[in-house]
Every structure is written in C-alpha cells, then in structure tokens.
C-alpha cells in the first residue's frame, strides 16, 4: 500500500496544477480584472495557503458544522427557548443583525464568487471559492436561526428589502457597495483584511458571548459557527496582504492606501455595533471600549509589528478611533433614541443599573457627558414630552452615518465634527478627517452615493411624510418607537404570564402574530 502523503504534499496535489494556459483567448482577456488596479503579480505560485484545507475536507467539516447548528436550532424551537432570554429588549440586537449584517454576508458571497473567477492563481481561486460558499452558509443559517424570533417579535419580516432602502442600513450597505464596486484586490483587502482581520472579532466574539450571557443559545451557535469560518477568512486576509507586498514593491503604497481607507470605512460601520454591545444587551460581558482595546489595540498592534518589515504601517487615524472608543456607543445610542419613530426596532433609555455599569466602564466620559443627557430625556418623557428629532439628519457623504461624531481627538468632545470638500462646484459634507480623505481621493465615486436623506427630499422614497417613507421601507407601525408600551413588550409579558391580556400563552401570541 502506498504511504499516506503528508499534509503539505496532499494540499499541493489537490490545489495546484489545476489551471492551464488559455489558447483561444489571451490570459489578460480571461482574467480581465486582474491588472487595472495597478497591482503587480509576478508569480501566483508563491501564494502560501495558511490553512491547508482541501475541498474534500472543507465539505466534511462544513457539513458537520451545519449538522450541529441545525440540531441546536431545532431544539431551541422545540423548547420555546426564546422564553429564556434575559429580556425581550435583547431581541432588538437581533433585528439590527438580520437587517444590517445578514445582507452583508450575502454581498460577501457574491464578491468572493467574482474573485474566485477573476484571480488567475489556483490557490487564491480555491480559497475565494470556499469563502464564497461560507458567506452563503452564513446568510442562510442566520435567516434560519432568526426566523424563530420572527414568529414572536416584530421588525424582522423583510430584512433584504429594508437593507436596500433604510437610512441606518445604508451605513453597512454603502460600505459593501464601495468594496464590491472596486477592483478584486481592493475588495479582498477591504473585506478580508480591513474588515475581517482587523475588526470582525469585535462584531462576532463579544456580541456572541453576550448572546450566551443573555440566554440566546441559538444565536451563540450560529455566531460561533460562522466565526469558525471567520478564522479561515482572517487568515486569508493576512496571507493576501503578505503575498501582495512580497510580489512587488510598487504594491506597497496601493495596499497601504486601501488599508487606510477600508479600516476607516469598516470602523464607521462598527459604530452601530458599539451601540448594540453597550446598550442592547441587557447583560454585557464586555464594553465596546474593552473589546476595542483587546481586539483592535493589542491585536492590530502586534499584527502591524509583524507587517512593518514589508513597509506597512498602522492604518491612518487609528489613534482617533481609539480615542473615540470612550464616546462612540453613547453618541450612536443617543441618536438612535432621537429617531426611534423611524426605525424597525425599539430603542430605550438605559435604566439605573445599566447607567451604573456604563459609569464603571466609561469613568472618563459617561457621567460627565452622557448620563445627564439620558436623565434629561427621561425627565422629559415623564412629563409627556418624549424627545424626538423631527428633522432629518445631515449624512456623511462617505460613511452615511448622520453627523453625530464629535471632535474627540481635538479635545472638544461636545462639538460635532464637520468637514467639507468642493468638487465640480458643489459642496460635499463628511463627518471626519478619515471620511474626508476618502472622498477627496475618489470624489468621482462618492458623488454618486445614494444618501437616504437626500433621496427622501428628492421624493424618491414613497412620499413626503414619515408614515409614507416607513411604508416604503416595509416597516409596520408597531415595529418602531419606544420599547415601553410596544407590541413586543406586551407579548413578552404575556409569554411570562405578567398580564391578563388576550395573548395568554406564547403559542397563542405567535398564532395571533401570524394571523395579523
């Protein structure tokens, strides 16, 4: 019997030599996307696969992961395990997840399918093909898991439609649109390195650990199942960067520019995650700032030390992102609270217990700047004057977040930060030096941004009044507003026998919702 080959050899045989030299068409025509970004690849065979996973092993392990996940989901549904949540306010984090993150998984699936087709190196093709399949799996498992919650809570009925239209969802959508409309090397630098390697731990690790903390076993399972693929994706991102830098020195400034840009773009998307982590989890295992310290400051510091020998430095404005960690989640949550009437989820003011936790986690900023604001809003609500912002916010032309960030790194944290640029005689507004730099580098691209507020004013979003717009978003009247007094709250209380309303048991409430 032939001796079993070792991993390296096996890997080589199953992934290399699968390509061929085209003869009917030139190679440049077959792989038409590979050269226009200015990236120089001299030898694809130098591509090193960090995880030596072959396609047969890939299918075996992915099938195993799905089997485990679906077993958990099934027993979760069978046991009505949503009743074990710490509190129903937690479900709002899942609403943001299904509307904001799941459609990105699908966008990533499409983006990596394109890369698998467009890269001429077989090693990279196979890695991108696996990732494309992973991202589709993530989309499907997230929809399946969260569909259980959709039977019992509002706001999760049409996430893909919402993703394409809603003001707060244009933040994640525009980031991915930006990456997908770039060339293949910029796309993979953006998604695999800037987003997945540098920042994805911040989305999946503390949040999923938070799900475990709050009794949501189904989400923990899909989250960690997705994250097990993410380890492979992050590794692909790092490998790609090293490969590009080793191939040609002319690649270094191009890659550095992309890292600067997409770090800042991805960081701005995570502003929503900071609010989710600090405010939407009834019990938080870790604050945004703590997670930022561990997963960005320490981790990226070590990483860029490794990469320094290739001539790469930390992404531009990373110090600013670190300084903002003291303020970010509070500024975002305050803004969401102001616009709760235009959302497909609920927002609320933190209670005393939560505020004490925030004071402890943010000793330099919370009591000084943000607690007084919440206390004033609570007082106003008590007097029947619940504060809400009736106008529409100015949006940043690049990240599309409302202008809510402040001059933290200029030591003026109560001053909103505004930047602007002129292009073709018109003025364009941005929220920060990071976003302004991105705009100024490619103004021709960003003048085309689909800004939800501008679109509303131009009459492209279903009408002029808020109910018309919400209808165009496919929001239902009971989806948004305050959590207190919401249909979700009523149903949650009924599930726990706290009221004698019509919905006396969970089964009935689910049926009622289905009938509604």
């Amino acid at each position: 019997m032939a001796k079993k080959l070792n991993m390296r050899k096996r890997y080589e045989l199953l992934t290399r030599g699968l390509g061929w030299e085209p003869t009917y068409q030139s190679k440049e025509k077959v792989f038409s996307n590979e050269s226009y970004e200015g990236i120089k690849i001299t030898d694809w065979s130098k591509w090193e696969d960090p995880f030596r996973l072959t396609i047969d092993a890939y299918w075996k392990y992915q099938a195993e992961k799905d089997k485990k996940l679906y077993a958990v989901m099934d027993s979760f549904a069978q046991n009505n395990a949503h009743l074990n949540l710490a509190d129903a306010t937690y479900v709002n984090a899942l609403k943001l997840f299904i509307q904001g993150v799941t459609p990105l998984e699908y966008q990533a699936h499409r983006g990596f399918a394109r890369l698998a087709r467009q890269f001429s190196g077989e090693g990279a093709q196979i890695a991108c093909q696996m990732q494309s399949l992973d991202e589709l799996r993530h989309t499907q498992t997230q929809i399946h898991t969260i569909s259980h919650y959709n039977k019992h809570f509002n706001g999760m009925h049409d996430p893909f439609h919402m993703h394409d239209r809603v003001w707060y969802l244009s933040v994640p959508k525009s980031y991915f649109d930006d990456a997908k409309s770039a060339g293949p090397f910029e796309f993979i630098t953006s998604v695999s390195f800037a987003f997945e390697y540098l920042l994805t731990n911040l989305l999946f690790v503390p949040f999923m650990s938070g799900a475990a903390f709050n009794g949501d076993m189904a989400t923990v399972t899909f989250g960690f199942s997705a994250q097990s693929d993410e380890s492979r994706h992050m590794t692909l991102g790092l490998e790609l960067i090293k490969f590009l830098l080793e191939q040609h020195e002319d690649n270094i400034p191009i890659v550095q520019g992309w890292i600067d840009k997409h770090f800042w773009r991805a960081y701005r998307v995570l502003a929503l995650v900071s609010a989710m982590q600090d405010y939407m989890l009834p019990e938080s295992p870790m604050s945004w700032k703590e997670a930022w310290e561990i997963y960005f400051v320490e981790n990226a510091g070590a990483l860029f030390n490794d990469l320094a020998r290739y001539g790469l430095r930390m992404p531009k404005y990373h110090e600013q992102a670190t300084a903002e960690a003291e303020h970010l989640s509070h500024q975002v949550w305050g803004t969401l609270y102001n616009y709760a009437h235009a959302a497909s989820m609920h927002f609320w003011l933190p209670d005393e217990k939560k505020m004490d936790w925030l004071s402890e986690k943010y000793p330099n900023t919370f009591d000084k700047y943000y607690r007084p604001r919440y206390e004033m809003w609570a007082q106003m609500a008590k007097e029947g004057k619940r504060f809400q912002n009736g106008g529409l916010p100015q949006l940043c032309q690049v990240c599309q977040v409302p202008m809510l960030f402040t001059e933290v790194s200029k030591d003026d944290p109560m001053q909103i930060s505004y930047r602007s640029s002129e292009f073709n005689g018109e003025k364009f507004h941005t929220c920060s030096d990071g976003c302004k730099d991105i705009f100024d580098h490619e103004p021709e691209k960003y003048v085309h941004a689909w800004l939800p507020v501008h679109q509303i004013f131009q009459g492209n979003c279903g009408g002029a009044a808020i109910p018309d717009i919400l209808n165009w978003y496919h929001f239902k009247p009971e989806d948004g507003g305050d959590y207190a007094g919401s249909a979700d709250e009523t149903r949650w209380k009924a599930m726990h026998g706290e009221t004698t309303g019509a919905a006396s048991s969970d089964t009935e409430s689910a049926e009622e919702k289905a009938a509604a």
């Binding site: 991993m7 475990a212 070590a302």
Partner: protein
C-alpha cells in the same frame, strides 16, 4: 511585551475539550480567560498543540483539522502540519 501577543479562542463545548486541554497542558505560560460560551488562550510569541497530546486526551485518532469545528478566532501566523498546529509572531 504585548506587541508579540498571539491568541486562540475556542467554543466552550465538549467537542472542543481535547483541544482546550491540550492547549492548557502544552502552553503553561498562556493566560486562559473564560467568557460566556468561549475560552480564550493568550500568550506572547507562540502558542500551539501537537496531535499526539490531543489524541491522548480524546482517547481516539484525531485529525488536527477538526479544530475548524470549534475554533472561534485566532491572531498570529499559522504553521500547520499533520502532527502540530502552531500560531506565531515573527
């Protein structure tokens, strides 16, 4: 120094147990942090496991690539073969 830190995070499940225990045994200098649903191993410079140890702990033959089933995240450069899995900083 914190600049050379590597980490691996595993799900806190029975399937991950042989990997978690092997990491604990083979990396006495690593810091082990328990968080809801997960276990995080941090160390300076390098962290790793060998197949023989994992097999001994699992009581069966193990393919180290099984760690894909329960690994949540990692940071560092991967060095992998049939008999070991390591993460290092250069």
């Amino acid at each position: 120094m914190s600049d050379g830190k590597v980490f691996m995070i595993f799900q806190d499940t029975a399937d991950a147990r042989p990997f978690i225990e092997a990491l604990t045994q083979e990396n006495p200098a690593a810091t082990i942090i328990h968080q809801p649903g997960m276990i995080r191993f941090e160390a300076m410079g390098e962290i790793g496991i060998t197949r023989a140890v994992v097999e001994e702990l699992a009581g069966r033959d193990v393919d180290l690539q099984e760690l894909h089933l329960t690994l949540i995240s990692l940071s560092g450069n991967i060095d992998e073969d049939d008999d070991y899995f390591r993460i290092t900083r250069h």
